[in-house]
């Protein structure tokens, strides 16, 4: 079995960006995602995740390579100036490509 390669896009953002980010994911064509709360430290100070208003979320979506490119471009253009966040992509081998 030689599983086909897709992109795993990971976004770490403040909790208030949740709605806008998942809306964007839907818009660019992601068929699913996984998310969970995280703590973090970065350029905009630390986010100790003590109250929901100050939490970070890590959002992961597996998408085809082209979708990943669009996604990262939209994030860099529309989201980075407004929200505390980072985003990155990596190659992953998935089992059933038709899902994504």
């Amino acid at each position: 079995m030689n599983p086909p390669t897709m992109k795993l896009v990971t976004i770490v953002c403040e909790a208030h960006a949740r709605g806008p980010v998942t809306d964007l994911l839907r818009k660019v064509g992601a068929h699913g995602w996984t998310l969970f709360p995280v703590e973090g430290e970065g350029a905009r100070g630390d986010r100790p995740a003590d109250i929901p208003e100050f939490t970070n979320l890590q959002i992961q979506a597996i998408v085809p390579s082209a979708v990943a490119t669009t996604l990262l471009e939209c994030l860099a253009r529309d989201f980075f100036p407004r929200y505390g966040m980072i985003a990155f992509a990596a190659d992953v081998q998935v089992v059933r490509t038709e899902k994504f």
């Binding site: 208030h16 709360p37 100790p48 995740a49 003590d50 109250i51 929901p52 208003e53």
Partner: protein, 328 residues
């Protein structure tokens, strides 16, 4: 010297002492940390309890007594941004979007400050209108909308229409968990009445003060962790965060007196006006005005005004109310 005595009593109450312990824990970088689910659980409990009690009292008092001060409270909340916005813009020289965001926070209200004030009045035996939670419920949203309109109108040159941001904010602030729990519990208390209170009172009333003490311990750690941001916001906001509550508090007390409330109720309306939202407002503003700098409004509301009101603002409002009522 009565005000000094009021302050002393407040500072030595378990609630305020636990708040101080929380700040201390944050400053010595203790590993004491309330996990987020605990924080959410405590806020749900406090909001439901205060709303439910207010609803039962509302049912007992009748709409006739409540509508006038409630409307006054709502109007006051909506008007506060109209005078704080120009101050922020012209004296503080802040960008329109930040001025609008901060004005929205100070027009909206802090449920925890209100609850601490109720706690304080209970502790010193000062009676108050128990339906006052209704004022808390109606004051959360209007100021947020006004603040956003101000920011958007001023920044109109960049071509952004006001409508969508307002709609987003309206949805956020009406379906946000604090308004929903408060209004919902008020309605339930209203429907269930004293008979319902008998059933859930041992959970929502008896342990209330202790739960509040524990919650303020947590709020102390939360505020304490943001104290280091104080040097990022500059002296103007520091003064703003202390003086504006005094002015708004006085407005609230005065308005309470003139809409038929007693000393206790006028004090509470003053505390509401003096308080700055750090839950409902940030959630709505972050989505409707994402360009506004959260460090400014959060630090002002949470690290300056909240501790100030908790320690000095509440007894100040009471002393003022007593003074005004003694004049008439």
């Amino acid at each position: 010297m009565e005000i000094l005595e009021s302050v002393r009593i407040n500072l030595l109450s378990p609630a305020v002492l636990f708040f101080a312990l929380g700040i201390f824990a944050a400053l010595v970088k203790s590993d004491l940390k309330f996990p987020e689910p605990l924080y959410i659980g405590l806020t749900i409990y406090l909001l439901v309890a205060i709303g439910f009690k207010g609803g039962v009292a509302f049912a007992e008092a009748g709409v006739a007594k409540v509508w006038l001060p409630a409307t006054a409270a709502m109007v006051l909340g909506a008007l506060i941004p109209l005078w704080t916005y120009p101050v922020l813009r012209h004296i503080g020289r802040l960008p329109a979007v930040d001025a609008g965001a901060i004005a929205a926070h100070y027009g909206s209200v802090s449920a925890v400050t209100f609850i601490a004030a109720i706690n304080y009045l209970d502790a010193i035996g000062q009676p108050y209108e128990r339906y006052a939670s209704a004022f808390l419920a109606v004051m959360e949203s209007p100021a947020i909308l006004v603040g956003i309109v101000l920011a958007k109108l001023s920044a109109r040159q960049n071509g952004a229409p006001v409508g969508p941001a307002l709609r987003t904010a309206l949805r956020e602030s009406l379906s946000g968990r604090s308004v929903l729990l408060l209004v919902g519990a008020l309605a339930i208390g209203f429907l269930a009445g004293p008979a319902g209170m008998e059933k859930v009172g041992p959970f929502f009333v008896t342990p209330f003060q202790g739960v509040l003490a524990l919650f303020l311990l947590e709020m102390g750690t939360v505020a304490g962790r943001r104290l280091k941001d104080l040097r990022r916001v500059g002296p103007f906001l520091l003064g703003f965060g202390v003086l504006v509550p005094l002015v708004n508090g006085a407005l609230g007390v005065w308005l309470g007196q003139h809409t038929g409330l007693g000393i206790g109720g006028a004090t509470l309306l003053g505390v509401l006006a003096a308080s700055a939202s750090y839950i409902a407002a940030p959630a709505a503003i972050r989505v409707a005005l994402p360009e506004a700098n959260p460090t400014l409004y959060l630090t002002a509301a949470l690290a300056i005004t909240f501790p100030f009101n908790l320690t000095l603002g509440i007894p100040f409002c009471l002393a003022l109310a007593r003074h005004l009522f003694s004049q008439t």
